[in-house]
Amino acid sequence: MGQVVKDATLGEPRFKARGVDKHFGPVQALTKVDLDLYAGQVTALCGDNGAGKSVLTKCIAGIYEIDHGQFFWEGNPVHIRTPRDAAKLGIETVYQDLALADNLDIVQNMFLGREELRNGLLNEDDMERAASKTLADLRVTTVRSIRQPVASLSGGQRQSVAVAKAVMWNSKLVMLDEPTAALGVVQTKQVLDLVRRLRDRGLAVMVISHNLNDVFEVADRIAVLHLGRMATQGRASDYDRQTVVDYMTTGASGRAGQPTGGDGAKSGAR
């Protein structure tokens, strides 16, 4: 159950979860979940409401501690107990509410909690340069001034700032929670382009999404949770929209077009 076949062409996953259990009181939120996240690949984590997507993300981010199972970072077993542990490994999370302070400007938000100092005072010049460079590298060029308050940004720009904030710290795995929810068509495209650029920079990217359009638009790999169990995971090209919906709703797929083995995905729910 939940066995994952390694994707031979990609080598060792940057992050592995094996047999992860998590319960809250009597509620079993995750049961023996396995997950592989590869460098330079966008993995879409799908699942219906209550499937355990958020719980799994928060376990990896160190907000919840897992009950059983093991995480592996670049092949080595690791313990992630606090957000600090996750940050130390290079794991950053962009939550759906973005956690930006509207009254602070872009630079101040990107460096919040990790300000650079010179003689005990804030080193605004260096921070502004670094933030500016990160945004330019990610080709986030639509903001008018890097010193404008975040309150004045559009939804897509805010998402871009939140992502830039996450990748500025030499992060190696970035998890994005519903990055395109509540965005318009143009802004969704901007954000998905940004996700591709993260992948092209060699980061492991995990995108949590309900939106199958976005999933098939951007994902290299797909993982589907169903009622706290990993129903399937594998290359995006091995799935079509209908099989993913089947896995999300029933935990299995009996249709043609489902993964056919090889180093692709296997259904682990039955």
């Binding site: 957000p83 009254n103 909690g113 008018r144 404008q148």
Partner: protein
Amino acid sequence: MVRAEAPEQAPDPTAAVQAAAIEVPPELVAQSLGEWLRAWLTRIRSGDSGVLPVILALLIITIVFQAISPNHVFLSAGNLVNLFQQSAYFMVLAMGELFVILLGEIDLSIAYAGGVGAAVTVQLVQPATTRWPWWAAVIAGLLVCAVIGALQGTLITRLRLSSLIVTLAGLLIWQGAMLIILGLAFSGYPSLAGLDSNRQVLYNLMNGTIDPVVSWIGAGVIVIAIAALLWFGDSRRRRSGLVAPPVSLTIIKIALIALIATAVVAICNVNRAAFGTQAGVPWVIPIVLGIFFAWMMLLQRTKFGRYVYAIGGNPEAARRAGINLAGVRTLCFIICSFTAGVGLLLYASYLGGMSGNINGGQLVLYAIASVVLAGTSLFGGRGRVIHGILGGLVIGGIYNGMGLLGLDVRWQFIVTGLVLLVAITIDSLSRRSATSGSAARV
């Protein structure tokens, strides 16, 4: 299964740029003074006017009171110096209150928390009893204030009690404590009037003046220092291609500061005594400027200040950024009470002794009204130390003008209430228009 490289991102929709043009502070994008002025006017028309309303309020107060005060005495040098002195403790209280208001909290106890500190200081320098040197007594009084702030801040942050309720209780408790301290060992209230030089220092905090020549030299040094900081800071940022205001704007800022300093020193150096000479800048002006500069540096240039704004803007973002929320919040309450201690010490100096009859309810409302009038938001996250200075001047002006007109305490109560009401209405309305603006953008 490598995907084709995504096409270059689409150009930004122009609509978004236009929407942003209204919101972005003009100094960020303007390349020339003309551009800056145009952007500034656009921003004022869209409802975000910065400190403009408070400057207008100051002008109106000046014109009205000059017109209706007996013998048009409002703008006389003697009255203006008196106005600076009266405003000084409003300013200091307001600059302290700012720290908790930036968090979206409130401290109603400042006048009596500060009053306890001032009472301790004044009692300790009494020659008949303890005879502490003035500096030790001041430190002791301010320490007591800091402890009061720490107590209240701990209750509010660790036990998650409402700051409104905790400090409302504090308002009563510290008033009682202040009266007890003032009643110790004396039949009357302890005075700062006396010939001993120790008490004289405290009396001079508000009433002493600096020699006119020294006043000019001091003002010159301060203006040159500020000008150098502004000029080199801005030109360094311009050279390295960072966001910086146009050169002309830097020059205008410097000129404005020089003008204000010259005006203040010139006014203070006029002989304002009926008999003999009394001229020079009151000590209290550099004291207030010192607090202003220290707290401005703390809020604008340190991690702590950044975190205060972050917590006021979005506590959840601050928590996720690993900021110690309880620590920062508690420190804000400590700074608030500590600054209030300075304010009440100035008040005691102004009165020439510590009185049990200080109107603490009125003082705290004046302090809150000062910052809110000048543009600080009671909802947290928005406000600057300069708001305490400008707002304190407005409140001091109203207070002083009513005194000149011979309006008694009944009218002062009514006007205090009305001023606070106006300030909070402006704050709420501007917040509403700001949120409706962002709702339209999304």
